[in-house]
Symmetry: C2
Subunit: 313 residues, 2 copies
Amino acid sequence: MDLVGDTLQGSQIAGARLIRLLDDEDERGVEALKALYSHTGKAFIIGITGPPGAGKSSLVDCLITELRKRQLTVAVLAIDPSSPFSGGAILGDRVRMQGHALDDGVFVRSMATRGQLGGLSRSTFEASMVLDAMGYDIVIIETVGVGQDELEVVDLAHSTAVVSIPGMGDDIQAMKAGILEIGDVFIINKADKDGVDNLEKQLMTMLHLRDYDNNDWQPPLIKTSALNKEGAESLVDAFFAHRQWQSDRDLLNKKISAREFHFFNEVLRELSSRKVLERVSNSARYQQLVADLEARKIDPYTAAETMLEQSNL
Amino acid sequence: MDLVGDTLQGSQIAGARLIRLLDDEDERGVEALKALYSHTGKAFIIGITGPPGAGKSSLVDCLITELRKRQLTVAVLAIDPSSPFSGGAILGDRVRMQGHALDDGVFVRSMATRGQLGGLSRSTFEASMVLDAMGYDIVIIETVGVGQDELEVVDLAHSTAVVSIPGMGDDIQAMKAGILEIGDVFIINKADKDGVDNLEKQLMTMLHLRDYDNNDWQPPLIKTSALNKEGAESLVDAFFAHRQWQSDRDLLNKKISAREFHFFNEVLRELSSRKVLERVSNSARYQQLVADLEARKIDPYTAAETMLEQSNL
């Protein structure tokens, strides 16, 4: 298999394999990504975040249908927060979004995460690069918007929608306040349920608390019912309006540059700390410090500072 | 204020101030923590995790009541996932667990998180050290068990309970499977609601899929109704049984050592990458690479490797 060539041709087998190699931190994955890199930067990346139970998967399913109607190809990265523990995604790619299983213009991957290497956001960044290089017009990143990690993931998107639903508890209200700042579009899903007016009022109030001026994007509020397949058209329109608004101000390119700068620093950080740790961890001094730690003779901070001082860095 | 002395005396003002300094990455905080360190290692740290809406806060409230009945002092760290975005906890400490507001034996803190420095798990580790040094018998870490970050936090605990409730959607089921591996105790909260039998059956099935042998701890399944104040006694008994089981096998000390080793490496990693970045980021070569990145002449991986090769590390 020509990993780079086949991926650029849009081969789903090659793309899936490359994403897996990257997830396994296999050097071949990184090498292929370097070769693909100049072919990326074309896809429009959409983030969908919201609490568990908000119906994000069904919503993404409706979005796919609407985007396909518009002749656009779509890749989905479903971030499964449980995967670090199970060693793989719980909801397999196959059981998700089955309606599109036979459509070549749709590609769905569940993301596993890896340990120390920049975590979820780096994995997702890399996978989105692969999907971009494969030629998909739209890449959707679907994530549970709770942890810091997940929210960093959403930060990769060019346009992000925050999903809420009527009638959830205090935790959800608190979360909503916290993720307000990342929403470019707000979705009230399950808009056929009781409590929509109340939720809408709350969201409007929260949005008004944001410190907008006339030059800022004003996030629209879209009501959807993924179950009844309502609202996907307005939602897609809202994303494209936001994209246009950003392009008109050259903000999309700035976003892409900022993201690349961020990952350059992340990789540099990771590579340098790894190099230092490799060098010191075989030293007698390191072993001594570990023994002192175990005996509670030293605290972790002093131990780390001592090690670094003596490493001739 | 004598930050170290007062904290060791159990002063809530000093403890709160120290936690804030650590959260702000203030050097005085780290210095105080070093001085406190030898006084830690006594508290029993309990983790409570579960999805938004599972009633964790009310459950913790009942736990506090039960622990106070047993003459134990309790500190709570409530991890608010939204805080990285709001710049502070949404639910203030004052509005939480008001029933214990006048009780000196109870101390509740909502944790904010910070950016790059090891994130949530390091903040929580440090705060739990402070609470431990203050002399609390029990430290409860309450967190939304979704993101990887939050699950790392729970990994700090000596004993962790996973809370589920009847009648939630697919996302919850997926999450439950993922966090099964971290549960030492399983709680079905809102056990007065419909669907308890079904949930119990599902949890039992999942637990049986775990690969136990006779030497493993067998996690109990406890039903609670935080609203009706039922089940807290059995729950506290379960935590103490797990603690005893671990002490008998010298596993608690091993857990504490492993945690310290982990943070020693984390701090070393962070300090070394920071040192390298400080050194290179003013170089002409770094500026050139950033310009090349912006022009998409180079990918972030090659750029980072190039920088590191030329940094004489």
